[in-house]
Symmetry: C2
Subunit: 393 residues, 2 copies
C-alpha cells in the first residue's frame, strides 16, 4: 500500500501489537479476534464505514495481524492498514446479511487451516460488532478451541496516549472549541434546532487551520427546555425559545480521535436554581480536575466531585466521566475507565478523559464538561472554552 | 407523555404490534426482546442516541410493550414512546459498561417476576445491539426459558410502508435531491473533501421546505480516484483533482426515514471506459426498475440487471440493492430483502428499496443509484435527480 496514508508510524503500530500480545499472554489467549472498529483501527490503521457488516482483525502471537471483512471492503483495507495485501482476506458477498450462511463460518475455516483451531481464542463478548450469532457460529465451527472473554482487552492498551495521539486530540479540541464559539454566536430564540445543527456539522467537519474534521462517533446532542432532562435526545426542527436552557454536547474529531465538550446556554435570565447548580458544578469541576493526577484513582476523583455537589444539596447517580480517544459510532468513550464508585484504576500521565458532571433534573438539565489529559500537575483541559453557564439575553 | 411528539398515530403503532405478534405466534415465540434501535422505534416511537448502552423493547403477546434501558434515558423514552410511564423501566447506572454486572441480569429478574421465565423468548441474534454477552447473560439467568433466533422478525414486518412512512421518505428524497444539486454546483478541482462534506451535512440537516433533516444512519461516502474502488472509505482533507471521478453516496433522512442516492461526478473529460460503464449502468437500471413490480422476485430483478451489464462484458459479484426505510446507525438498510441470486422474496406494492448497481473496478468506481417505491406499474423512483454520469470540466 501507499504507506503515506498511515496515521501513525509502523513502529507505533508494532508497539501497540507488542503491548496487546503481552496482555493476551497474561490472560492465556493464543489468538485474538478483534471486532471493535476502534480496536481494529488502533492495531492496524483500518478505517472505513464498513462495520455494518461483520469484519475483524485476527491477531496471533506472531506474524502480522490479518484483516478479515467483506470482499468489497478489502480495497479499503489495502488503502488504510499497515499490513501487506496478503494479510487482507475478503469474504464473498453472499455471506452479507444472509439467513443461510454467516461470515464467521468462513473465518472458522481460515482459523482451522492456519492451525489455530485448538487455540484459546479471545473474543470481545460485549462489543456492538460481536453479535450473539458471531459467537454461536465460532463455537460451533471451532469445537476444539476454547473461548475467553477478551472484552476491553485492546481498549485497555489504548488508555495512555502517545504524542501523536495527543496531537490529533488537540486538533479535535480546537475544532470543538471553535464550534462552541460559533454556537454561542448563532443560537437565539426563533432559530430552528436543525438549522443550528446544520451549522454545527459544518463547523465540525470543516475543521481548523487546514486540519479537516472527521465524523464524531456520536451526533450533536442538544436537548432544550424540559427535554434537557433527557440527555440523549437528538434534534428536531422546532425553534429555540426564550426562557429555556439548552446544552450542546458535541465533539471535535480528527483522524477518528475525539475531544468532546458540552456547554449550556440559557436564552434569557437564568432562574436562581440554574445559578446555584452552575456554582456547584464549577466548584466540583475545579476540585475534580485538581485531583485528576497520577496516583489518584478514578473513584477518588468522583468522590471529590460528589462531596462538592453534596454541599449544595445535589446528588448525581450516573458516572461523571470516562476515558476517550480513538472511536467509531455508536460511542466516543473508550469503555474502560469511568469516574464512579468502585473504579479503582490508578491515573497515569497521558491518560485522557471526558469529565462530564452533567446534572439532569426533572425538567431541566445543565452540562458543562471538560476533556483533559492527566499530567503530573493534574488535569490539563484540552480546551480553553470559558467554563460557565452561557447566557444570551 | 405529550403524545403530539409521536411520529405516527396510536392506531399505526397498534397495527405494527398486532402484525409483529402474529409473526411471533407463527414462530412459537411468547416473548420478544427487541434490541435493534430501528425496530424499537418502529414498534414504540422510541428515539434517542442511547443505543451505545444496552436497551430493548420487551413485547409479550398481550399488554403494551415495555421499554427497558439506562435510567438516564428513561426520560427520553417518556418524551418519545406511546406507552404510559409505567411501561418504562430504567436500570441503575452501575450496570453501564461494567465488568461486574450486566443490564441483562436485571432484565432477567424482571422477566421472571412477570411470569415470563418459562416462555419461548425471541432474541435478535445477529443484531449490532445484541452482543454475545447479552445472550450469555439471558441464557444463564433464565434457565427455564427457551430461546429462539428472532433476527429480522420485526424488520420483515416493516417491509411494506404506510402512507405516513412514504410521506417521510419523500421528504428525505427532496433533501437528498437538493443536496446532489448542491454538490454538483460546488465540487471542483482544489476544493478539499472535508469542506464539501461540511456543506453536504449542512444541506442534509437543514432540510427542505421547513422540514428538518435528521442524521443519516451512514455518513457521506465520497471516495475519489483510485479510492473509489473502495466503497466505504470516508473523506479526508485532500483536494479533489482534475481527471478524477468521485461518487457521492449520501442519504436524506427525516424522522429517521431514509432516502439514499448516489451520483458520480467526473472532473474533466471522462475516459471511454467510464462512458461505456455509464451506458451499461443506465440501461441496467432502466431494465431493473421496470422489472421491480409486484409479483416479481428480488432475484429476478437482479438477474435482469446482471444480464444487461453482462452484454457489456461487466460482472458484479455484490448485491445490487436492498430494502430501506426507518434506520439507525450503522446501517440505513433494513437487512431483509436484497437484490441478489437466491432472494425469492416476491415484491409487493409500497415496498421501498435502494437500487445500487455500483461498479467498483480495480482503480475506479461508478455509482449511480435510485431509491424507489414498488408500485403496480413498476418502480417509482423517489427522486428526479438526472440519471447520468455528471461531468464538470
Amino acid at each position: 500500500m501507499d504507506k503515506t496514508n498511515l496515521k501513525f508510524t509502523l513502529e507505533e503500530y508494532q508497539q501497540r501489537i507488542t503491548k496487546t500480545r503481552s496482555a493476551m499472554q497474561k490472560r492465556g489467549i493464543g489468538l485474538l479476534i478483534v471486532s471493535d472498529p476502534s480496536n481494529m483501527a488502533w492495531l492496524t490503521g483500518y478505517d472505513g464505514w464498513s462495520f455494518y457488516v461483520h469484519q475483524c482483525i485476527v491477531l496471533a502471537l506472531d506474524g502480522d495481524p490479518l484483516w478479515y471483512g467483506r470482499g468489497q471492503d478489502a480495497n479499503g483495507a489495502k488503502c488504510t492498514v499497515f499490513m501487506e495485501h496478503d494479510h487482507i482476506i475478503g469474504y464473498p458477498d453472499h455471506y452479507v446479511q444472509s439467513t443461510e450462511r454467516h461470515p464467521m463460518e468462513l473465518l472458522s475455516s481460515i482459523i482451522q487451516e492456519r492451525g489455530w483451531g485448538k487455540h484459546s481464542i479471545g473474543v470481545e463478548m460485549d462489543n456492538y460488532y460481536f453479535s450473539a450469532a458471531c459467537y454461536a457460529s465460532l463455537t460451533q465451527n471451532l469445537p476444539n478451541a476454547t473461548f475467553k472473554d477478551a472484552n476491553g482487552l485492546v481498549n485497555w492498551q489504548r488508555a495512555i496516549k502517545s504524542e501523536k495521539e495527543l496531537e490529533y486530540m488537540r486538533i479535535a479540541a480546537s475544532i470543538v472549541q471553535k464550534t462552541h464559539t460559533h454556537i454561542l454566536e448563532r443560537v437565539e430564540p426563533g432559530v430552528r434546532k436543525n438549522e443550528l445543527v446544520a451549522e454545527i456539522y459544518h463547523s465540525l467537519i470543516k475543521g481548523v487551520d487546514g486540519h479537516g474534521g472527521d465524523y464524531p462517533a456520536i451526533v450533536p446532542l442538544l436537548p432544550t427546555g424540559a427535554d434537557a432532562s433527557a440527555p440523549h435526545l437528538t434534534w428536531d426542527d422546532k425553534p429555540f425559545q426564550k426562557g429555556e436552557g439548552a446544552f450542546f454536547e458535541i465533539s471535535g474529531c480528527h483522524h477518528r480521535y475525539h475531544c468532546p465538550q458540552s456547554r449550556t446556554i440559557y436564552l434569557g435570565n437564568p432562574p436562581e436554581k440554574w445559578r446555584n447548580a452552575e456554582k456547584a458544578m464549577l466548584e466540583g469541576i475545579d476540585a475534580a480536575l485538581t485531583a485528576a493526577r497520577p496516583g489518584n484513582t478514578c473513584e477518588q476523583v468522583e468522590d471529590i466531585w460528589r462531596k462538592v455537589i453534596g454541599k449544595y444539596g445535589i446528588e448525581k447517580e450516573s458516572r461523571c466521566g470516562y476515558s476517550i480517544g480513538l472511536s467509531y459510532p455508536p460511542d466516543w468513550g473508550e469503555r474502560t475507565m469511568s469516574f464512579r464508585p468502585g473504579d479503582k484504576t490508578v491515573l497515569q500521565e497521558n491518560m485522557t478523559f471526558h469529565f462530564i458532571p452533567a446534572l439532569w433534573f426533572d425538567d431541566w438539565g445543565l452540562e458543562i464538561t471538560e476533556s483533559f489529559i492527566v499530567t503530573a500537575k493534574g488535569a490539563e483541559p484540552f480546551c480553553t472554552t470559558p467554563r460557565e453557564l452561557f447566557v444570551k439575553n
